[in-house]
Symmetry: D2
């Protein structure tokens, strides 16, 4: 088991890259909430591949077909369910991957775990394609959160060694949160974005790939989201963000940097701002004791470089029990970070909305 | 809700710093497994405070009283339950914290979330003291894992700017994993440890505190622990490690560093080693697609500096709605990282053992 | 939330009677298990409507389309997902039910619970049609259980006042368990079956309906399925069987009859039978302390008469706030009990297989 | 796993009859709710043994010690935890039960399931004594429900062949619901109660035991508690009530009787009563489609006769692999039904309060 997330809503993702379809169910949505399908489609298009030369050339019709849960544009109390057909599939590209696992992919671990019964075509259930249903669920949660005044946005914080300007941790506006998502290349500083594209293009020319970091922010969250211990906001967000393929690190607020600081440097002083309690700095990333503080929630997720590269790599033949060289065929992103931005937003939206429903129980 | 963790076992932690007691239940342990109470006590003593001047002077009798689940030294199929009495409590130390929240603590967020009904004494349910029951549960899971040949150990990777030698990611031995835990100050390089102690002492003298990083390793895990998507090993570990107070970052294998690399640099080549599939490097931290690869599992958790410091700090009076200065009284660690080492091991052990039980279902 | 069941597997049912489709996902199935689609189709045809005059004349193409989880006839480790299209829908039949709720239906309670946003067409998510995906999930679990030597079957124990012969509680064979399911009208005693059909026909002629009882048996279960307290086999079975529409009662073994007995009458004496511990009677229904005893598991579920009847009934107009008379149009079963038989088997199979996976963890 | 229940609150019960203690944790209670300890104690005393000759003579100090979750008489947001010490234990009474299992007890099934590692003293985790922590959790939920205007009460519906008057299903008042619980012997009709006591005394004189039925009612529940399918109110109540030892049957409203009726007889007509939608009869037991209808919720649980009787019984020696006679020593109830009444109320209260918290999420 593993493809289900949530405490109050249950998000269940199914399908493989080249199976009949991929999809998602969400059990537990309140009834009577408006879902704007146009807006959902626009959100999904942000992760869709094939838009430009920086991403994979595979075309997907990522338009979800709604199977249940919505009537007349509103949630109806029944579980939400949607499916995306798998159409542009070329299964023969992947024929030898059961024998010769791709480095840094799940081929080998899945082969052993599932005794060779796993669906290897296109990466199967481990494919990045499965982030499409994640974005469906997340796109819905984003809308539901916006109806409560809570906004989520993300940007590329870095590609390789190129850094974007970070979000303003202290006085972040809703407009700032949403701005990068409106661009084709989601950064704060477009000049940095140009350099990033150059870095990606360089990797592509070298039949290589490059990693990066996504920074995500939540604005408008009330004080009190999240629960102590294992359902703190950090735990909740981590439990879903690490489900996005290629994420290898996650930090909140000052994150790893705070480990080098003194308490007197890292502690965020409280002050009153026009009747509201705020902190002058936001090293805590909007979360104290697992609970939102009213300051912007800020976190960063580190993505490893796309494992699929065109260069020959060392691997093994499982059948022969011997070392061998592998050359990966097929279409692959030299950098998935730009497409990962809406995925991180989606993951955060699911986590925050789930926590929001718990919060509502507590304010009976 | 939030103090429960697990898929196959449910670890439920209860109690507040100054309540009748703190404790833990573990539902779902297999019956007939030997638990060595002496060994558990030794593990718990590693996080116990009051051992030296580097940690808080509060004395705890952290010897757990077993309420159920073990008969004749073996698990009996009923839930495990244990309690630690809260004896050395000085509630008056904390009397004004409901009005003037301590910076970087959960005082303010808990006050709002729980409408002022929270137990504020000693940090209540948010106290670091609640890691004692976490260590009870983790110590039991560690023993159960060792019975399956899986070993977990951790060390202080850094305090402030002082770095310890990292674990050998590629050829880590069980002995290496367990070595730091046998020392009073759990590091690989004792010289670095001396410098760390100096850094801590310096913070203490300045009525300040300092953060650090804990690195944890799992040796002996079979290929196949963890599940895709939301129950990958990264998700499972993250969902519990972020429950340890003060953790603000987590990374696996190469972690944030991999975001700066090319695929050709970060991908770990497979090779055959005496009939076994291994990787020549271990940037993936022993986890591919959420599933253990047979290589050592390696992760690092960043701890912020202890928020409680002796220096005056800026805060607010919630009742007055005005800024004020706060001076924290009481006994506090200038650095909790050394005591956090067994906590990280405990969290990892619970996550890995829970995944191990899922793994066993899959190999029916 | 409510449409998810299970501890080790998660069965998630989605869709409404007249939505895009109805379907099911099963997360947590072991990989590499053979699923016979032909056999699944045959099982599903047992609940399909439109077969004869005793059941609703609505035709369904209940042939599920597999979206994921199965490759080459075997489970692949990814979640199983299947959908059945809703084709033969006549939404206009149900137009006024939002205002005038049908007695004994969920119309009124859903209207209030979901603030009028519920999907009312064809009963929405409350439709008996949703037992089709239940049967898909149950049919798969039945096959997986049969691979472990565990067989589940059910029969109509009564319709109105007509009784079938009960299963032999003490020496039930696999053949006896499966026999009723092979008949068009699933009873043990065909003469009783004829009388039942007459009772149903009589109800149909009177524009009325009739209730009944389904008895279900599990043969071949090892000693040890089920867990104490809230995950005992009774709890597990009850938690899913009451999810079948119209079930209003459930009893195990001697059930309500045991409440009238003395301990000396109801206690089942143990004895040794060729090296095996058995009981001479089986008043306990194969479950002691929530755990299977090795004797056949026997339970009975009471179904109320189909609420949809052709006779005029008293109801209210919610908009007018006044009493009114209701005449239900459309196609309805005068008795759903024969079609409920495979549904009860399906529910039992899911519950037992889920418990079986827990059992396997315990015998590490 | 098995000793945890709940969707929004998690009730976790631990301990064995003769272990260090028995207890309960409740995670997920809203903060700031008043809990009256005096009232809780009075509720617990209703199930306490040793009060008269009709129940076991073992004395228990069932006064719970609060370990966490309550400060100043209010819930504080941390998990509630309480323990009851096991003091009056006579472990030697039970020495041979590992070899010779008692008929109708869990001795044999536990022996096999737990490979002989189970705690057999006093019934271990299967002991009826474990209903004390159930009543603690239930007593708290009862108080929280009463604060929302929802009242739960139960009475003995029958002992052997003696019937009490049933609750008035249609126009039940809060006073009627609570009346039986205020009596030493909880019945509606005291004359019937006298006959029941005679029946029990007769069983006791014959070294025998007798079963019975408990009827439980919930008054004041709003329309809309419960969710479709697997979290309907019937499922929720069933999933916990079957966790009370000795329950072998459960029915809602008309229950098994409705299986003999026509739809025209069993359907409850709606009508308007002073602006409120009501039903003229209540065969549906206050639940339609799994959701409360605003009519009183009514269910009945069948209890088998206490398995421990003084008469010699046939059993087996597991070590000898041979039939043998068993004479049970120790103190035992000839009838546990009167003590089961508050247990059923407690179970219902937990189920209803858990559903109530879900309901609150839906009315955001």
């Amino acid at each position: 088991m593993g493809s289900i997330y949530g405490e109050n809503i249950h998000v269940s993702i199914f399908g493989q890259s080249h199976s009949g379809g991929i999809g998602v169910t969400i059990d537990g949505l309140p009834a009577g909430k408006t879902i704007d399908m146009q807006q959902l489609g626009e959100f999904l298009s942000r992760r869709a591949p094939g838009k430009n030369k920086y991403t994979t050339q595979r075309k997907e019709a990522d338009s979800p077909e709604i199977l249940g849960g919505i009537i007349g544009g509103k949630t109806c109390g029944a579980p939400f369910a949607a499916v995306i057909r798998n159409t542009d599939t070329r299964s023969k590209d992947y024929s030898n991957l059961k024998d010769i696992p791709r480095p840094a992919h799940a081929d080998y671990t899945a082969q052993i775990k599932y005794h060779g019964a796993q669906d290897v075509a296109g990466g199967g259930h481990f494919s990045g394609r499965l982030t499409a249903p994640l974005c469906i669920a997340g796109g819905i949660c984003k809308q539901l959160l916006e109806q409560e005044g809570i906004y989520i946005g993300a940007h590329i914080a870095s590609i390789g060694s190129v850094q974007d300007d970070g979000f303003d941790r202290v006085s972040l506006t809703v407009q700032q949160v949403l701005a990068p998502g409106k661009k084709e290349f989601p950064v704060n500083n477009d000049a940095a974005g140009e350099q990033m594209r150059a870095e990606i293009e360089q990797a592509r020319m070298a039949a290589d790939s490059v990693g990066g970091v996504v920074e995500c922010a939540v604005a408008g969250a009330p004080v009190g989201l999240g629960d102590p211990m294992f359902l703190g906001m950090e735990n909740r967000i981590a439990a879903i963000v690490f489900g996005i393929p290629a994420v290898k690190g996650l930090e909140f607020g000052n994150g790893f940097a705070c480990a080098k600081l003194k308490g007197s440097e890292n502690n965020d002083p409280f002050y009153m701002d026009d009747g509201q309690v705020k902190t002058r700095t936001n090293n805590h990333g909007g979360i104290l004791g697992g609970i939102t503080s009213g300051m912007p929630v800020i976190f960063r997720a580190a993505f490893k470089p796309t494992p699929s590269i065109g260069q020959p790599q060392q691997s093994v033949s499982l059948s022969a029990g011997a070392d061998t060289e592998l050359v990966i065929q097929g279409r692959h992103d030299p950098c998935i970070v730009s497409r990962a931005v809406p995925c991180v937003e989606a993951a955060a939206a699911i986590a925050v909305y789930d926590a929001y429903l718990s919060y509502k129980k507590g304010v009976l």
